[in-house]
Each structure stands twice: as structure tokens, then as C-alpha cells.
Symmetry: C2
Subunit: 212 residues, 2 copies
């Protein structure tokens, strides 16, 4: 397996955590997003979206972190990243997709770059944008996780799930923009618990071959 | 089942298509997003994200359109919205998530509103933003679908899948901002084919109880 990745990409981070939790070996192919390497012709031939991550596996190229994780979950079900029960799976997916669809897309590099140019916003305004969408979602998520009995040491129960795989990179991303975590004790507790796992630590940006 | 919805919400549109394709009856509860009804206390108690759609089913509240569709797929597998084979499922999910994670989140009402206020952009600039993200993704998707042999009458083969469930509302959304579909003959052909299905037509914004 070859994972096309960028150390600071939080969607690549998700894929790395899932691969590590599943105990799967993979080769990392790095693409420097700030230098535009993801738009090189040979990578576009592989993945027309020109985004990372993408996983080369079993003769296919799978783009999209969530599609990669779904694939890994079905190809190597153990350890499971989704609960065995249908209500549990719905809960975990609802948390994961809230992070993956309602926070991260607004705060990735290409969007922040567009706010700077052509829209002409300065760095403090871009940082305010980042924190706005992050805080809106973390508020909602803290409310849910703090009140729901299914929350355990992790977002759902006592083992890491897809929800944690999405939460950890989002919190890490927020740290870069000084998002205050004090209002989110449940999320912080879960983040800290995840970071006691080697699978999460090895996937972190600073432990990638292209880390700066 | 009760679906919390807004006629023009393209994520609600996805959920409506999936419910219809599965042949499931449901009651629609409307929330007028422009009037902020999704932030009413009683709805926030149900869904702390304050977004639509959310599905009340089996004593649960499931937020997030993709989580709703996953739930429906597992609860009523026939007709299937995902292919039976693992590579096919990965392909369909890759297409669906590209639309759900890389286009729609940038172009929904709350984001366009933020561009206008506080960021102060006029309507033409907001419309340019909308078309920019839409066109970037439709370009990539047209490239994929036009060249890949798995593409059929629909995004994947000869029956509607999760990919079509995400594609149709996105194209419909693009029409509101005058996205030129001429460069996307494959996507337009698939859209037209879907719209020969009653399940897609009944789910369309103009056929909702809160349509304006």
C-alpha cells in the first residue's frame, strides 16, 4: 500500500491513524501542498482531484480519507473502527461526518489561500475565519459528547472509532490557530487519551518523513 | 420516521432521495434556514449542531446526511445504494465524499452568509466563490467519470448509488448560481437519467412542503 500524504494535511492524518490502528504497513509518498506538488501531471493522472490523501491498494487508487477508512474497515475488520450495533454506527458516523463535512473543508489550505488571494484578507481575518468554524462545531460536539451516555474514554465507548480518527486531527489543526480548548473538557480528555496510543502518535504531523 | 429538512438544503435533498429510493415513508419537519429556525432551542435540544437534515428513527436522532444514508443502507439494504463489491464501494464512496466534503461545505448558506457578513463581500463575489469550488470539483469528477469504465447510465453502473444521491443535489445547487454545465456532458447525462426517476423528482426542492 502506498499512501499519498502531506504531513500537515489533517485528512492524511486521519488515513494514517486508521492504517496504524489496523496494523497495516504502508509506504508514504509525500506531496508538498504549499509548493503545489499535488497538481503535478503525474499525480493528477492518478487522482484527478489533486488532493491528498489517496491510497494505492489492490490495483486501485482510492481518493478521500473517509473512503480510504471505509475500505480499510471492510478489508481488515479487526480491530473495528465502527461499533457492532447499528445505532452505535450511526452515532459514530454522525460525529465523524460533522467534523469531516462541516469543519475541516472550510479550514483547509486551499480555502485559507483563497481568502488571502483573491479575496484579499489579512492573516488575522483568515485566522478568525478558521476559529469561527472550528468553535461552532466543537461547541456542538462538546454538548453532545458531554451529555450522551455512549461517550466513554473515547468518543464512543472504550475503543477508538472513526469518530476519534476524525477528532484528533481536527483538534491538532485547531492548535495551530490557537483555538482555546478550555470550553471543551470532554474533547480534550478524549484527545489526550488517544495520544497515549502509538497508532495516533506515529500518525502525527511531526512524525512524518516530510515534517518541517 | 421524521426528517428534519429545508427544501433548498442540498444535504436534506440527499436524504430525501435515499429515503425515496429505499421506498421508505417519512414525515417532513421543515426548518426555515434563512429565518434561523434551525437554531431554535427545541431543535438544538434534538440536534446540537443546529443543521438539517436530521432523521428521527427507532428512538434516535441521526444528524448528518451521510450518516442517515449509511443507516438506511444497513437498515434496509434493498435496493442497495452501494455496490456489492469492495472496489465498487470504494469508488462510489470516493465520488460521493468528494462532493460531500470538498464542494458542498464551502457553498452552503451559512458560509455564503459569512462571506457577506462579516467579511463584507458583495453578491457577485459570493457567486464567484460558489462557482469556483463547484467548477474545481466538477472538472475533476467529469475527468474521472468520462474515463473510467465503471461509469454507466449512473455514476457507477446501471443503478443509482450514493454517488448519484450526492451528485444530483450538487448539480441542482449549481444551477442556482448559473454554473455552466457544457463542460460536463457525462455529469449532465447522469443528472438527466436520475431525473427520470420518481425518487429523485419527488425529493427535489420544488416538490417539498416548504418550497417557495
Amino acid at each position: 500500500m502506498r499512501l499519498h500524504s502531506y504531513f500537515r494535511s489533517s485528512t492524511s492524518y486521519r488515513a494514517r491513524i486508521a492504517l496504524n490502528l489496523k496494523g497495516l504497513d504502508y509506504e508514504t509518498v509525500t506531496h508538498h501542498l504549499r509548493k503545489g506538488e499535488q497538481r503535478a501531471a503525474d499525480y493528477l493522472a492518478l487522482n484527478p482531484q489533486g488532493l491528498v490523501p489517496a491510497l494505492e491498494v489492490d490495483g486501485m487508487v482510492i481518493p478521500q480519507s473517509l473512503a480510504i477508512i471505509d475500505y480499510l474497515e471492510e478489508r481488515k475488520p479487526d480491530p473495528a473502527l465502527l461499533p457492532a450495533d447499528l445505532p452505535g454506527r450511526a452515532r459514530v458516523r454522525g460525529i465523524a461526518y460533522a467534523l469531516a463535512c462541516d469543519v475541516h473543508p472550510l479550514n483547509n489550505l486551499r480555502v485559507l489561500s483563497y481568502l488571502a488571494d483573491p479575496l484579499g484578507h489579512d492573516q488575522p481575518t483568515v485566522a478568525t475565519w478558521f476559529r469561527h468554524w472550528c468553535v461552532v462545531e466543537l461547541n456542538a460536539l462538546e454538548t453532545r459528547l458531554a451529555r450522551e451516555p455512549e461517550t466513554g474514554s473515547f468518543c464512543h465507548g472504550e475503543t477508538p472509532t472513526l469518530a476519534d480518527v476524525c477528532l484528533v486531527p481536527q483538534i491538532r489543526n485547531g492548535q495551530r490557530f490557537d483555538v482555546d480548548m478550555a470550553p471543551y473538557p470532554t474533547l480534550q480528555r478524549i484527545y489526550d487519551r488517544c495520544m497515549t496510543f502509538d497508532a495516533f502518535v506515529r500518525a502525527a504531523p511531526e512524525n512524518q518523513p516530510d515534517a518541517e
